[in-house]
Amino acid sequence: MEMIVKRAGFFTSVQDLGRTGFREFGVSTSGALDPLALRVANLLVSNDERVAGLEITLGGLQLRFNDERIIAWCGGEFEVEIGSQSLPAGHVGRLQAGDELKFRTPQIGCRAWLAISGGVDMPIVLGSRSTDLRANFGGLDGRALRDGDVIPLGPRPGSSASAEATADRPIPATRISSWTAPHDWVSPAKPNPILRFLRGADWTRFNALTLQLLTSELLTASPDSDRMGVRLTGPELPRADNVDLISEAVAPGTVQVPPSGHPILLLGDCQTIGGYPKIAQVITVDLGMAAQVRAGDRVRFSEVSLGDAHQLFLQRERSLERFRIGLSLRDQ
């Protein structure tokens, strides 16, 4: 009922879909930076989509399992191996007790989400198993994984008396299934992504030239990016005024511009409030792509309307609903 972290790799943490309901107390969302990736991986292994898994940054992770588990992962272009067999993104693999799982350095993108049947079993803190890495609570002692950590896993779905059979059900009949989820969901990383955005809440504080720069120039991700945000360098984005703004809410996807003129694209560990002007907001369906941006990647921004953003959001949830139904038919 556990797995052993033989090597924690560059940066690995326990995450689920994040914390909601505690923003008024300054508690960040945390959670998988690409919630869809974790939801899909969970669905593939017949977990509830809200179950906790691991978020792997830049690879180097090596795990050993102590019992039989089904796993799936989604994210950047990682090479993942069960023993010596490779497991592509969005496929389902079966691990036997004693098997090892390895995530190597990704070619494109920087993060992956691993779902394990039964899920990572950590105490629920403020409604979530996610690690809050800034405030150091949740997940495993509020910190990233280390070599030698022992990670408890939940009971496998259907492993109780009624259905020991489910553990032996024919799917995946082979070690690696041929079944998969849509490519955009399981492998959203692009070397030079185009991120669609809505006008930010402080859009009018920038002049026309700045707004044109935002959509016409390539911005480069700098190495001091982390789960709080991606720092972008390129042409400066000056403001039209220099009024001190009163802090108000920010959220994952907010693009804020500090006095340096170099924008920061906020991700899941961002603060709940901020005082820098918000020039743009990356739309929810593109946050998965944003979570893959790594140092040196060149990002382009492209404006969409609020109506379009909502349509894209709703369409994606409808497709996910169909995918869920498809899986439940598979599981019968």
Binding site: S247, A249, K278, A309, Q311
Partner: protein
């Protein structure tokens, strides 16, 4: 009042444009809006959070569409609901008075590396700084930066001090600081640029508690100066 989108799944209700010209009134109005929106339980709303002059509302577009029956104009539908829920209340409809929380604070030099700087800036003695800081009535305008960090209005103008040009990499939990015209308390070990003038033995954030914070927006706060001995015994 102005309602602006914060992306496709959140919006900001800007109740007022300014804070400093009327902090009490602004805060009361913002908190009233926060309570009204909470009470209205608008379908699809996930959570609400007040901050100085505004209230942020986070929603799930799927649930909003289920309730509104139309997939177009999600924002307009929500804005109309919010508008209807926040009609100004008539006088006589009295809100409950904010609670007052007393924060014991030790201004011992060991805990106050920037007390001299604040005194120099105000051109008064360090004792006077402590007196002014512990005699004032404060109000929590917003919780943020890190979980449980109270941004408090009401600092005597005399001791307002600009943030340090070199922020510290690590500030201990409980540190009481002055940042510009505000005072605050660091709940967790964190970096920060405020001038540190004391420390409280109280825990401002505890994720195992419900609610996890000692202070919330709207609370009235007073600091009570305590000795080093009291600090150590309260800490236990």
């Amino acid at each position: 009042m102005e309602i602006v989108p914060l992306g496709d799944s959140a919006l900001i209700v800007r109740v007022r444009e300014q804070f400093d010209d009327a902090p009490e009134e602004t805060l009361n109005e913002v908190l009233q809006t926060f309570q009204q929106l909470r009470g209205a339980a608008i379908p699809g709303m996930i959570e609400l959070a007040p901050a100085y002059t505004s209230v942020a509302a986070f929603f799930d577009p799927v649930d909003v569409v289920k309730a509104s029956g139309t997939a177009s104009d999600i924002f307009d539908w929500l804005a109309a609901r919010i508008g209807a829920a926040t009609v100004p209340k008539r006088r006589g409809n009295r809100r409950s008075a904010p609670r007052t929380v007393e924060i014991p604070a030790c201004y011992d030099p060991d805990f106050a590396p920037d007390l001299d700087e604040v005194a120099r800036h105000a051109q008064i003695s360090t004792e006077q700084v402590v007196e002014l800081h512990s005699a004032a009535d404060y109000r929590v305008a917003c919780i943020g930066f890190v979980p449980g960090f109270p941004f408090m209005a009401g600092l005597p103008k005399k001791i307002a001090t600009p943030r340090r040009s070199n922020p510290r990499k690590e500030i201990p939990p409980g540190a009481v600081g002055i940042g510009g015209a505000q005072t605050g308390i660091y709940p967790l070990r964190s970096p920060g640029g405020w001038n540190l003038i004391g420390r409280t033995p109280l825990k401002l954030f505890d994720p195992t508690k419900d609610p996890p914070v000692l202070l919330r927006a709207g609370d009235r706060v007073r600091f009570r100066a305590i000795t080093r001995e009291e600090f150590e015994s309260l800490k236990r």
